[in-house]
C-alpha cells in the first residue's frame, strides 16, 4: 500500500531514442532504445512505453525488458514486441531516431537464485520470450544451469533462436523448441514438451515462465500437480503500471486482488487463485 520503488532499483521516466528496430518474425520486432541516463532492471521487470503523439491511443503499453546494458555512457534497453493492435502498430512504424518515453523498471522480476542440486527450467511461449531470454542470459552470465523451452505457433514465429541456443549452451543446458503446427522443433505445445521431459525424469528446482494465458494455465496445473516451484510473468491490461489504478489486478489464492504491476508481474504459482488452473 505504500511506496513501491521497484525493489532496489530506482524507477525512472526517461526519454529514450529508438536506436534500432529489426524484424524477428512476421509479427514481432526488436527495439533497441538508448539513453545517456542509467537504467537497471532484472528479468521479469517491465516498462511502460508511450505510443503515438496525441491522446489516442491514450495509455502507455506494458513491455517486458528483454535486456539492458550500459556501455560508454549509453544505456541500451532491448524490447521485443508483437504487433497485436493499435499501440504496437504505432511502435512498429515509429521512426528510428525518434524518441519515446519509457517508465522503467517496474514490478518484480523472477527469482534467479540457483536451487541446490537441480537446474532451472525456463519456459517461453510466443511473445513471452523477452523476460525469459533476459533471465536465460543473466543466468548464463552467472553460470547457473537451466534448460530453455521455447514454443511458438510456427517455425517462423520462433524468435531469436541463436541467442536462446547460445545462452543454454553456455551453461550446458538444453534448448527445446516446439511449434504448434510442427513446422520446426517438436510438434505441439511447449508445456507438453516440458511434461515429456518431466515424465522422463528430468527435475527442475524452479520453473520460470512467460507466455499466453492458456500456456500459463497448463504450466500452473503441471507445477501444482507435481509440487514444482514455478514463477509466472502475467500479462494483465494495465493503465498506469505503477500501482495506482488497480486495473491490472490478479486474484490470489486468499481471494485478494493485488496489482500485478506492483506485486507482479511475476507471481509464484502457489499464490494464484484457482482460476489460473481451471
Amino acid at each position: 500500500m505504500t511506496h513501491n520503488g521497484g525493489g532496489m532499483i530506482a524507477r525512472r521516466d526517461l526519454t529514450v531514442r529508438i536506436a534500432a528496430r529489426t524484424d524477428l518474425s512476421p509479427t514481432c520486432f526488436r527495439f533497441i532504445l538508448e539513453t545517456a541516463e542509467e537504467i537497471a532492471a532484472v528479468p521479469g521487470q517491465f516498462g511502460m512505453v508511450t505510443c503515438g503523439a496525441g491522446f489516442d491511443p491514450l495509455l502507455r503499453r506494458a513491455l517486458s525488458i528483454a535486456g539492458v546494458a550500459r556501455r560508454e555512457g549509453v544505456t541500451r534497453v532491448e524490447l521485443m514486441v508483437k504487433e497485436v493492435g493499435r499501440g504496437t502498430n504505432l511502435l512498429r512504424h515509429a521512426t528510428v531516431g525518434s524518441t519515446l518515453r519509457l517508465l522503467a523498471p517496474l514490478g518484480n522480476g523472477f527469482t534467479l537464485a540457483p536451487v541446490e542440486g537441480t537446474c532451472l527450467g525456463l519456459v517461453a511461449g510466443g511473445i513471452g520470450l523477452p523476460p525469459v531470454l533476459f533471465a536465460a542470459e543473466r543466468l548464463a552470465a552467472r553460470n547457473v544451469a537451466f534448460d530453455l523451452y521455447v514454443g511458438a505457433a510456427s517455425g517462423g514465429e520462433l524468435l531469436d533462436v541463436e541467442r536462446c541456443r547460445a545462452a543454454a549452451i553456455a551453461v550446458g543446458g538444453d534448448l527445446v523448441l516446439t511449434t504448434d503446427d510442427g513446422s520446426a522443433g517438436e510438434h505441439g505445445f511447449v508445456t507438453a514438451a516440458l511434461q515429456r521431459r518431466l515424465d522422463g525424469g528430468q527435475r527442475y528446482g524452479r520453473l520460470l515462465a512467460c507466455g499466453p494465458n492458456p500456456m500459463l494455465a497448463a504450466l500452473t496445473r503441471l507445477a501444482r500437480e507435481r509440487a514444482l516451484a514455478a514463477e509466472l510473468s502475467l500479462e494483465e491490461p494495465m493503465a498506469c503500471g505503477v500501482g495506482v489504478c488497480l486495473g491490472c489486478v490478479v486474484e490470489l489464492e486468499d481471494g485478494r486482488y493485488v496489482a500485478s504491476c506492483k506485486e507482479g508481474p511475476v507471481f509464484s504459482v502457489d499464490r494464484l487463485a484457482a482460476r489460473w488452473w481451471p
Binding site: T2, L59, V242, V244, C245, C248, G255, Y257, K262
Partner: protein
C-alpha cells in the same frame, strides 16, 4: 514576476490549485519520486469504505478513443488501514489530504468519517455519491436530490472539516443535485466523476469489462466536464467548485478555472505521465507569467460569455 499560485476552496487554503484525483493516485505514496504528495495543492485518496473491499473481477479497464473506461469497483484497503498505514507518512510529509468517502448505505459514510475524525492532519472529506460501478454504492444518492441532501446533512453533522460532494455527470439534473448538496451543507462541489459508458468485444459478443459498464474518463470527456462546471457555476455563482475531467495540461487547468473552478483534480493523466500533476503546476505557472496573471485565483470564473 512571481506568481501567486495559492487558492481557496471555501475555507480551505491550498498552496496551489492542482490536486490529485481520487482513484488515480493511490493513497498518495505510490509515486513519491515523481510526484511527492506535499507538492500538490492536495491529494484526494482512493475512495475509502469502512472495511476493505475486493472490488470487481477483471477485466476492469479498457482503453477508448482519448479515454478509458474503468470498473474497479471501489477496491480499497478500508479506512482503518489507511489511517494506520498511509496517513502517518502523509502527515509527516506535510501533504494536504482529502479523504474520498463512500458507502453502500448512509451509515457507512458516517463510519468512514467517524474513524477519520479521530485523526489529525486531514484537510477534509469528499463524498463520492456518484460512482457508477457499484449498483448499491452511491448511485441513488448522486442521482436523486432528496437523499443526497439527507446524506450530506448527516455527514455535515459529523464533522466540522470541509465537506465536498463529488457530483455525477450521469445525474438527471446536475444543478438540482448541486443545490441539494449545498442545502445539505456542502462547502464545495467536485465535478465531474466518470461518465457511464460501455465497450463491447465484437468477437466475443460480450462487454469488455467484467462489470459490463464502467466510467469513462480522460481527455474525451473534457469538453463535457468543462460545460458542466460552467453550468453549475452560472447557476450557483460563488459556490466553490473543484473541476475535474480529462485535464492534461496547465492550459486545461486555466480553462476549468475560467469556467468557475477554484481548484482542479488530475486523474487519468497520471496514468500516462506519473509526473503529470507537478508538470501541470509548472505549466499553469508559465501560463500565468505569459498572461500576466499575478494570482491564479483571479482566473476563477473569469470566462466572458461572448
Amino acid at each position: 514576476m512571481s506568481i501567486r499560485l495559492d487558492t481557496t476552496v471555501g475555507a480551505l487554503k491550498l498552496a496551489n490549485p492542482v490536486l490529485a484525483a481520487s482513484g488515480t493516485f493511490g493513497y498518495g505514496l505510490d509515486l513519491l519520486e515523481f510526484c511527492p504528495p506535499e507538492s500538490l495543492g492536495a491529494i484526494v485518496t482512493k475512495g475509502l469504505s469502512p472495511r476493505p473491499r475486493r472490488g470487481n473481477p477483471t477485466p476492469r479497464i479498457v482503453e477508448t478513443a482519448a479515454g478509458m473506461i474503468n470498473a474497479i469497483g471501489l477496491q480499497n484497503v478500508g479506512v482503518e488501514a489507511f489511517c494506520r498505514e498511509a496517513l502517518p507518512e502523509l502527515r509527516a510529509r506535510g501533504a494536504v489530504v482529502v479523504v474520498n468517502v463512500f458507502g453502500e448505505r448512509m451509515e457507512e459514510y458516517l463510519e468512514v468519517i467517524g474513524r477519520c475524525e479521530g485523526e489529525d492532519g486531514l484537510a477534509g472529506y469528499e463524498l463520492n455519491v456518484s460512482c457508477p460501478n457499484v449498483t448499491a454504492g452511491g448511485m441513488e444518492f448522486g442521482h436523486d436530490p432528496a437523499p443526497l441532501e439527507r446524506l450530506t446533512a448527516m455527514c455535515r453533522a459529523a464533522t466540522r472539516r470541509p465537506l465536498w460532494v463529488k457530483l455525477s455527470p450521469n445525474a438527471p439534473d446536475l444543478v438540482a443535485t448541486a443545490r441539494a448538496a449545498l442545502a445539505g451543507g456542502a462547502d464545495a462541489l467536485t465535478l465531474i466523476n466518470t461518465m457511464r459508458a460501455m465497450a463491447i468485444d465484437a468477437d466475443a459478443r460480450r462487454p469488455v469489462l467484467a462489470n459490463g459498464c464502467g466510467g469513462l474518463s480522460g481527455p474525451a470527456i473534457k469538453p463535457i466536464a468543462l460545460r458542466m462546471v460552467w453550468e453549475v457555476h452560472k447557476a450557483l455563482p460563488g459556490v466553490p467548485i473543484v473541476g475535474i475531467g480529462g485535464i492534461e495540461t496547465g492550459r486545461d487547468v486555466v480553462e476549468f478555472l475560467l469556467a468557475g473552478a477554484s481548484a482542479v483534480q488530475i486523474g487519468t493523466a497520471i496514468f500516462r505521465d506519473p509526473v503529470a500533476p507537478l508538470r501541470i503546476v509548472a505549466e499553469l505557472e508559465s501560463f500565468c507569467e505569459e498572461h500576466e496573471v499575478a494570482h491564479v485565483a483571479e482566473l476563477t470564473g473569469g470566462l466572458q460569455w461572448r
